[in-house]
Symmetry: C2
Subunit: 341 residues, 2 copies
Amino acid sequence: MNKKEKEVTIYDIAKKLNISASTVSRGLNNDVTVKKETQKKVQSVAKQMGYRLNSLASNLRSKKSNTIGVIVPRLNSNFMADVIAGIEKVVNEGGYNLIISQSLETMEKEIINTETMFNNRVDGLLVSTTYNTNNIDHFEALIKKGVPVIFFDRVFDHTEWPTIRIDNFKAAYDATSHLIKQGSKNLFHISGNQTTNVYTDRFKGFKQALIDHHIIFDEANLLVTDLSTGSGEDVANYMLALPKLPDGVFSANDQCAVSCMQSLQKAGIKIPKDIAFVGFNNDTITKVIEPNLSTIDYKGSEMGEVAARVLINHLNGTDIKPAHSIILRSELLIRESSLRN
Amino acid sequence: MNKKEKEVTIYDIAKKLNISASTVSRGLNNDVTVKKETQKKVQSVAKQMGYRLNSLASNLRSKKSNTIGVIVPRLNSNFMADVIAGIEKVVNEGGYNLIISQSLETMEKEIINTETMFNNRVDGLLVSTTYNTNNIDHFEALIKKGVPVIFFDRVFDHTEWPTIRIDNFKAAYDATSHLIKQGSKNLFHISGNQTTNVYTDRFKGFKQALIDHHIIFDEANLLVTDLSTGSGEDVANYMLALPKLPDGVFSANDQCAVSCMQSLQKAGIKIPKDIAFVGFNNDTITKVIEPNLSTIDYKGSEMGEVAARVLINHLNGTDIKPAHSIILRSELLIRESSLRN
DNA sequence: CTGTTAGCGCCTTCAC
DNA sequence: GTGAAGGCGCTAACAG
C-alpha cells in the first residue's frame, strides 16, 4: 500500500486560508451563515488541495451513517433485482448510501445481518423476510432506538411502521376466478412455503374464489412446493399420474407454472384446452412460452421505490409516517397464443 | 425519534468493572495480551449491558470502513442479479459490508458514485463500466491511494489490477462456427454498443469465424442495437424486408435473439430450418422458447464470486495480487426443440 | 459572520 | 497483564 500523500483535512485548508476549521466546515457544507465569498474561497481551495470529505469522521460526529440497509432472502431473482434497482434509485437520489445483504432464506443469517446493520448505525432498514422467519424480535432493538424498519413483499405486521406489498389475496382471487370463468372446474393451486404471508394469502384467495363459485375445495389440490423449475416438473408428473387430470392450475409464480406447462406439453397435453394455467409475477418467460401465460403483473421496481421513499421521506422529515400499510397495484394480464397455427 | 436509552460505550463497561476502557477494548477484540478471565468478564458484562460496537468510531480510528463498493451499469438484469448475489456471498463471508450503486449507463453518474465510494473510504471497489465510459481517470484517485479497483465483465485494462471476464472473442467464434457447421452461409450478427469490450470482442469473434471459414463478411450484416426486446422485433422486420433472408444469426444476447425469433415465427419463418439462431448468456428464456435456443453459458455468480474473492484475499493479505486478467469459463450449449411435433 | 472549545467512541502507543 | 493519554477528522454548541 502506497498511501504516500497524507490526507488533506479541513485544518489544512483552514491554515492555508488563515481561518478556523469550523468556518471551513461550514463553507464546505454550504452553511448559510457563512459569507458567500468565504464559501467560494473555501471550496475552491479545497478542490485545489485535493480535499475530500472524511465521511467516517463526519458520521461519528453526527451519529448518522447516511446509509440505508437492505436485507432480502435472495438477490438472484428477477423480481428482487427489480426491487433493488428501484431502491437504489431512490436511495441514491436521496443522497444516502445503500448497504445490501441477503439472508439466503435462513433466519439465523437474517439476524446476524440485522445486527451488522445495527452496529453500522444504518439510518433505516428495508426488509423482506425469509421463509423461516417466525418472529421479528431481532428488529426490536432498532425500532426501540428509533431506527425505521420497513417490511416489503414478505411482511410482518408490526404497529410501528407500515408495510409495502400487494394484495395477494385479491390477485389470487382474480386469477382463480378467471380460470373458473374460462370453464375450469377441477382446479389445482401450486404454492410456496406456507409460513409466508405472500403464499398463504395467495392460497386464501384461491380458496375463496372456489367457494364463491360453488366449487368444493379439496386439500389435496393444494400443492406446496419450492416453486422452482424442478418442482414444476414434479408437479406435472404428479398430475399425469392422477386418475383425473385437473383442468385449471393457478401457480403462485411463473417459473414453476412454465416448467410444469412444458413438461405437460411434452406428454402431449394441450394447453389451455386440456389444462388452463395462470401464473404470478409477469416474468419475461410468460411472453415466451407458447401459449403465452396469463399472469399477475406487479412491479418490483415500484415496490422498491415506494419502500425507499417512505423511509427517506421520513428520515428527511419531509413526510409524516404513513399510518397504514401501502398496498401497491397488481393486475391480471390475460394472454393467449401469439402464434397463428 | 425516541432514542431514550443512551448508547452503552466501552467506558460504561469499564466503570462497572472498575477497569480501564483500554482493557475493555482489548477484551472485546479478543486481544491475546488480556487475561482470559478478564476477557470473559468483559464480554459477559458487555452483553448484559446491551453494548454494541460503534463501527463509526472504530472506522474513524482505524481509517478503514470494512466496506466493499460495487458500481454496475444496471441492477435489474438477470445477469447482474447473479453477479451481485455472488459478490454479496463472498463479501459477507469475508466480514465486509457491501455498498451498491448503479450508474444507469451514464459516465457522469459513474464518476459521482465513484467519488462517493471514495469519500466513504471503501476498502476496495468492484466495477463494471457503462457503455459510455471512455476513460478511467475517475478511478485514479483510489488507485493512487492504494484502494484496489477491480473491473469485471465490462472492463478497462489497466496495469495495476487484474480484470475478471470471459473470453468473449472465443465464445463468439465458437457460436458462429457452430452456425456455419450447421449449414449457415449468410450470417448476421446482432450486437450492442461498440464502445464496450464485451460487444466489440464478440463481434471480432464473429468476424474471424467467417474469415476462417472462407465466408465474406459484409459490414451490413452487423446490426448494432441496444439488444432489447424491442430491438429484436425491429431486427426481425428489417430482415423480412431484405431481398434475401439470412440463414444464420448470432445475437450478442438471448433476450434480443428470442424476441427476434418470435417475430420471425409470427411471420411464418421456420427456425432453425429457414434461419438458425445462437444467443449469449444462457438466460432462462432460452429453455422456454421453441425451439430452444443454443447459447453461450457463463455464470454471473461465479464472476461475482471470483471478483470479490480476488479483492478480499488481497485486503486480507491472504493472497498475492494476480498478475494477469482472470478469464472465466464459458461454453456453447447446443439446444434444439424439446417438443415432439 | 467567524472563532474557540469540546467532544463523538474507539484503538494504539507508551508506560508500569 | 493493565492503565493513561492522545488523537482519528469532523461538527455542534457557545461566544463574540
